[in-house]
Subunit: 229 residues, 2 copies
DNA sequence: TCGCTACTGACGGAATCTGTCGCAACCGGG
DNA sequence: CCCGGTTGCGACAGATTCCGTCAGTAGCGA
């Protein structure tokens, strides 16, 4: 690989990661020595890329870019198509529609050859075995999450006890056949998760919850020991 | 000026002009010889830049090398993030990397407020229960599909009989825990599907298969009664 | 304090780049 | 049909850059 190609791919590697990467990892990824990596970083910096390097932590590309990114590779197109097909198959109707809408927008900026890749992609998703869960609940929960509003739900717990709770939904997890909403539960005053198929009814409340969802998400991650993805 | 810096500014020069420029002009602008300019153009082309050069006319950068800004709805962003996370979790390593790469590229052409939606998306994919299948086989099959090449595989059928077949892979299906490749089997002279975890070895052949993959895909769909997605 | 990591400098051998020359192929206009 | 302008390619020798290794400094977090 030529050096200039390598610089571009280094930029991509940095762009891809939202948090710090150590030089050693990058060097291995590119197949060069650590010393050369530092030289490459220096080169990019002199050309205008804003790269933070902190000792003991790693490198990070600050948003604010030297160049608009290059066009998608055909593998990236494949990944997007496959992912969208999965969403179209597994998620509730509005989200499924959004998935194909997003794909259409991407297609419209693609050069001819890549558009062919997109349209003729051979990566398909097998149909889900389980029947689709109630889409209305999923849609309502996502809406509340997006806008950071509280909702009131009728819930049936694992022991089949009914309860009614006010929760602050902060994440929605997709598993093989079920979906689980992670939320702060006002009743229990702690983070809980609720299977979507055990929620009988969702009533959106007009009250915003008092913290940023991102903050809550971070706290939940910390409490469960889940690293930043 | 280092060569890599020069390549970037050559790209800028080409992008700035809507119509053809002669090599001589570009060479003078960059302060290099004509021969070196041709070499630089060739380098950019091998790196994916689509540059038309017509004798007697000049060079021109065709659109589609750099990504234009994109606009999505919040729901479309959510769909893309969710889909990409699923791919990043379930597919083989290169495809998983491509998924996050695509997302990063999308992020960098998004306006600020939408970028926040992308980074703070609360839609997550539960970890797969099954161990990941052998990524090398999946990668090799995808490559053959993309380039329409035949491959030779060692296969263990449902009755545990070993066989070696030359197949034309045309599609790869992702199911809950397994992946299945759909292919034309030269041995059986018909479309067959092969579980990826029962393929012991994949040997890429240097021969292209004689029909377009899209045509074969259509024939297979017809033979199975699957509608166009 | 310790471990990890970002940085920098120097050096010699390897790899790449550069300009020059020559030549073929192609386009448009005379 | 020819001719000037242009892209494109190969070869070559000298200049330049690049690379890995070794050594050392310094900052961050625990």
């Amino acid at each position: 690989m030529s050096r200039s190609a390598r610089l571009l791919s280094l930029l991509e590697s940095l762009r891809r990661r939202r948090y710090s990467v150590t030089g050693k990892v990058l060097a291995e990824e590119l197949g060069i020595s650590l010393r050369s990596l530092y030289r490459d970083i220096a080169t990019l910096q002199t050309q205008g890329a804003r790269i933070d390097g902190a000792a003991g932590v790693g490198f990070r590309l600050r948003p604010g870019f030297l160049m608009p990114p290059l066009m998608f590779s055909n593998e990236e197109i494949e990944a997007l198509v496959l992912g969208s097909r999965w969403v179209a198959d597994r998620a509730d109707a509005p989200l499924a529609t959004a998935a194909s809408g997003a794909l259409a927008k991407i297609a419209s900026v693609l050069p001819e050859n890549l558009r062919e890749d997109l349209e003729g992609s051979g990566l398909v998703v097998g149909p889900s075995r389980e029947p689709k869960p109630d889409g209305a609940i999923s849609t309502a929960v996502r809406k509340a999450m997006r806008e950071e509003f509280k909702v009131r739900v009728d819930y049936l717990d694992a022991q089949n006890r009914k309860s009614q709770r006010t929760i602050w939904p902060i994440a929605l997890g997709f598993f093989e056949s079920i979906q689980v909403v992670v939320a702060w539960c006002e009743l229990r005053q702690s983070f809980r998760h609720f299977r979507l198929d055990r929620i009988g009814n969702v009533q959106p409340l007009p009250t915003r919850y008092p913290k940023k969802r991102r903050i809550l998400l971070g706290q939940w991650r910390a409490s469960e020991g889940i690293p930043e993805s």
